[in-house]
């Protein structure tokens, strides 16, 4: 692309025109910005109508999720950036699989309110997550997961790295398929923490978390499932202390935790994580001891474990490899040592062709398992293709999978990826779960602008059993959006989620948060019709993060679950819905059901995107909060894919 003044006023050559220039123009009605004066402010209101039914024998009657979703954002000169988000359900019986179906949710956020001496404050009210100090988020192995609550939080940042956080409220669960709903669980939870940098290389912090008379919260174990809570109520009190040392490419963090869960007495734990980067090599290592029965608020954390780990990785333009050893024992029992070894390598044969492989071995505790993966990546005239073979086995079954993925070259503004795989599962005769089956799977991820007014997005996963007893699996989220006028648009969405009665075997570290055994689901499917109203003021001349008159560009992207860890969004990989993406620590959006997010007008220049990792489903995480640095250019669209990794 080139810019600059024209050579001459009139072209010397007369161009030809399609159909003599009579083609009807394919023009959108324009953005919903209705005035350009003042500071940036915008509102979006969705009216949602739905029809949802549960499939299978004995399924309950169809239900509805009708209501409204409201989002507003506005900048202030002296009180930071504000945003309000809410949803209300007007109609509908219980959601299949959810005992208490929320009737609404609301949150109000204020970010980056400035004070003298370099202090800023973030405050929030409503259905939010409990706050954490930044040092508690930097956990490669043991996660202090903030739980959803209905309450308030405040976070203050000042000079010398000083940060103070506090929050409290009633714990609950987010549910709802399209409309964000919150179901309070009763009881209370609260947290208070602070951190400080006494020297350039040091940061110290601590936080207290408590829960009273409330159920334990369990994050969704599988994509498409909702969070759950235990039936019994607990109380917990936990304290956390941490010290971080960081000097250029080296860092080490020491953590202590101490607390009690109900009448189980006092439990404590400590863990050390360290890493060092030298040239193309990065080494990470650590040791841990954590008693059983530790919780953070009303969420159980990985506990009852002692051991250590070592990981070394190498990255050059041509080679990428890492090697990982975990040794884990339970604190409470004997003879339960587990050793996990993982090796992963990739070699770029040429500019267009790369090969790689992964080997995993888990040994001990009567659950020996190992797996191998090999793949070939190639850029071809159609796009990028990956051919992959997987084998995994444990005491229960053997699993062979062959997969072909293709990311297709398509017209600008569109995207398309497909994959096809055959999965053969052989069960051991003594296996508790018989899964003798051959399953064919087809996946599609795509979308884009069909016309200037009509756009489509689709994530479809389909699996059929060609041999054996396994039940089929379906997952679809297909949406069409049509812009009626500058402010009004209509969205139609088809949603289906049915989990099959089989699961692919993945050999993981014992430190990985567990994925529950798959329970065959009768499935849910539904159709949603949304009428959307959008209005914005000041958006063009006061772009997000800019000043009046500054240039702006469009920043959008997707947060996805990078199942094959290749750093690319492939078909069959799910977008992460309802994840909060934050621009420059000030402006937040929540990803849609396909994991997509959108900042329509962002000031040209350098920006930082981060992700609230606690809003990701387990066992997925993002290093460094998914911090992604982007440069937005004036008048250009910037697309960012943020891939979450499976915790290993």
């Amino acid at each position: 692309m080139a810019t600059g003044p024209p050579e001459s006023a009139a072209p010397a050559y007369q161009d030809h025109y399609i159909a003599e220039g009579t083609l009807s123009p394919d023009v959108s009605p324009g953005e919903y910005v209705t005035s350009t004066s003042g500071l940036s402010r915008a509102v979006r209101i969705d009216g949602v109508m739905s029809y949802i039914e549960q499939q299978g024998a004995g399924a309950p009657p169809a239900t509805r999720e009708d209501g409204f979703i409201m989002d507003g954002q506005w900048d202030t000169a002296a009180y930071g950036a504000w945003s309000a988000n809410g949803g209300v359900r007007l109609d509908g019986s219980d959601h299949p699989g959810i005992a208490e179906y929320g009737t609404g949710s609301f949150s109000l956020h204020q970010r980056g309110m400035p004070f003298d001496d370099g202090w800023t404050a973030d405050n929030a009210l409503g259905d939010i997550n409990t706050p954490l100090i930044d040092l508690a988020r930097l956990q490669p192995r043991f996660i202090l997961a903030p739980g959803p609550m209905e309450g308030f939080d405040t976070q203050w940042r000042g000079p010398s790295g000083l940060e103070i956080v506090a929050g409290g409220g009633e714990p609950g669960i987010f549910n709802g398929i399209k409309i964000p709903l919150f179901d309070p669980l009763g009881g209370s939870t609260g947290t208070l923490g602070a951190q400080w940098s006494p020297a350039a290389q040091w940061a110290l912090g601590g936080e207290l978390a408590a829960a009273r008379d409330t159920p334990l919260y369990f994050q969704p174990a599988l994509q498409g499932q909702t969070a759950t809570a235990s039936s019994e109520r607990i109380s917990s009190s936990t304290g956390y202390l941490t010290a971080l040392w960081q000097d250029g490419p080296s860092r080490a963090q020491l953590n202590f935790i101490d607390g009690s869960l109900d009448s189980n007495g006092n439990s404590m734990g400590a863990w050390l994580d360290a890493s060092h980067t030298s040239g193309a090599f990065t080494q990470s290592y650590g040791a841990f001891y954590i008693d059983p029965n530790l919780a953070w608020g009303n969420q159980l954390m990985t506990s009852n474990a002692e051991g250590g780990y070592y990981r070394v990785g190498y990255q050059s333009r041509r080679w990428l490899w890492d090697f990982d050893v975990d040794q884990v024992d339970t604190v409470s029992g004997s003879g339960s040592d587990v050793t996990f070894v993982s090796a992963d390598t990739r070699y770029q044969l040429s500019r267009d062709t790369g090969i790689g492989g992964v080997a995993n071995l888990r040994y001990g505790a009567g659950d020996d398992a190992w797996g191998l993966q090999g793949y070939l990546d190639q850029v071809n005239s159609l796009g990028t293709v990956r051919a992959e073979l997987d084998y995994a086995t444990n005491a229960q079954l053997e699993d062979y999978t062959a997969t072909l993925q293709q990311t297709w070259k398509v017209l600008a503004g569109n995207r398309l990826a497909t994959s096809a795989s055959v999965d053969r599962i052989n069960s051991n005769p003594n296996a508790t779960l018989q899964q003798e089956s051959t399953v064919v799977r087809l996946n599609l991820y795509g979308g884009g602008d069909l016309t200037a007014r009509l756009s489509a997005n689709a994530v479809v996963q389909w699996a059929e059993t060609v041999q054996g007893e396994a039940q089929p699996s379906r997952s679809a989220d297909v949406s069409l959006s049509y812009q009626l006028s500058r402010s009004w648009s209509v969205l139609a969405d088809y949603y289906e989620n049915r989990v099959g009665s089989w699961t692919q075997l993945i050999v993981t570290s014992p430190l990985t948060p567990p994925i529950e055994n798959v329970i065959p689901s009768a499935g849910v499917r539904g159709a949603f019709l949304t009428v959307r109203y959008q209005e914005a003021h000041g958006g063009h001349f006061v772009p997000l993060g800019g000043v009046p008159g500054s240039g702006s560009g469009h920043l959008s992207g997707v947060v996805y679950l990078d199942a094959n860890d290749n750093g690319r969004y492939d078909a069959g990989e799910a977008g992460a819905p309802n994840v909060i993406v934050i621009l420059d620590g000030r402006y937040s959006v929540r990803t849609d059901s396909n994991g997509r997010f959108d900042f329509p007008a962002v000031a040209a220049g350098h920006h930082v995107l981060t992700v609230q990792t606690e809003t990701l489903p387990l066992p997925w995480t993002l290093n460094n909060s998914g911090r992604t640095e982007v440069n937005v250019s004036t008048r250009e669209s910037t697309e960012v894919d943020i891939g979450a990794q499976r915790i290993r």
Partner: protein
């Protein structure tokens, strides 16, 4: 360059002032910035570029094709008159003018009809999107009108068009103030090329580097320098000490050649 723009730059240089262009008069977003397509004789291709009016009010844009060449510094020089051998007569645009509401987008279509008797080769042209209303360029206190524009570059390979590469060197040239190993590459084929590949090497201090070939286009008939920039993990600005030896495979299109050179 137009007399108005030249005047502005001369004035700026004389006054020692930066040149800025206000966004109000020309705020188009165009995607993609470049298309690289393939076709065959007798085939008609239809493609789409999206143009968005980034201004708040309705704006008109004029569109036309142009031939282009690449300057020594890779600046694009557009030419409105028909260049010898130009394929612009194969190109049909959707319309000459578009009017877009504030924030509005057009999916602007164009076609390339390759004649049935077209020989193998590469059709190259630009589509220029020009603001109808002049922008205001400011040189200090002096404001002058200039018309902004964006050019989309289109390459269409016809038939089995391919680059044919000859590599000359070694040389050492200065890139962004740093001396770097350089090769000269002649493209004697009938399609443009971008070089790539995986090269490693060692400098006089024994430090090992990866070397990244520059990927700017080399048009048929051109000889261009291909800079081999050093890459060292954890060091954003590695400084080479010559002499430097470089080995590996230089790649382009679907071909490659082994390289083992000493640069001093």
């Amino acid at each position: 360059m137009s007399p108005r723009a030249r005047l502005l730059i001369v004035l700026s240089a004389l006054l020692g002032l930066p040149v800025t262009a206000a966004a109000a008069g020309f705020a188009a977003m165009v995607a993609p910035p470049r298309l690289e397509l393939t076709s065959r004789a007798g085939v008609k291709l239809r493609q789409v570029i999206t143009i968005t009016n980034g201004a708040a009010t309705t704006a008109k844009f004029r569109l036309h094709t142009a031939d282009f060449t690449l300057a020594d510094d890779y600046g694009v020089i557009f030419q409105d008159s028909l260049a010898p051998g130009s394929c612009r007569p194969w190109v049909a645009l959707e319309r000459a003018e578009v009017a877009l509401p504030g924030g509005g987008t057009i999916r602007y279509r164009f076609e390339v009809q390759v004649p049935a008797d077209a020989p193998r080769g590469e059709c190259r042209f630009g589509i220029l999107i020009e603001g109808e209303e002049p922008s205001v360029a400011q040189a200090g206190a002096v404001k002058l009108p200039i018309a902004g524009r964006i050019g989309v570059i289109v390459y269409v390979k016809v038939g089995d068009a391919k680059p044919a590469i000859e590599v000359f060197g070694p040389e050492v040239m200065t890139l962004n103030g740093q001396r770097v190993p350089t090769l000269r590459v002649h493209n004697g084929g009938d399609a443009h090329v971008r070089m790539g590949g995986f090269l490693t090497g060692t400098d006089a201090k024994g430090v090992k580097y990866d070397f990244v070939p520059s990927t700017l286009p080399i048009l048929p008939g051109e000889v261009r320098p291909v800079y081999l920039s050093p890459s060292l993990p954890g060091n954003d600005h590695p400084q080479l000490t010559f002499p430097v030896t470089v080995q590996g495979k230089l790649e382009w299109d679907d071909q490659s050649t082994e390289l083992n050179e000493r640069f001093e």
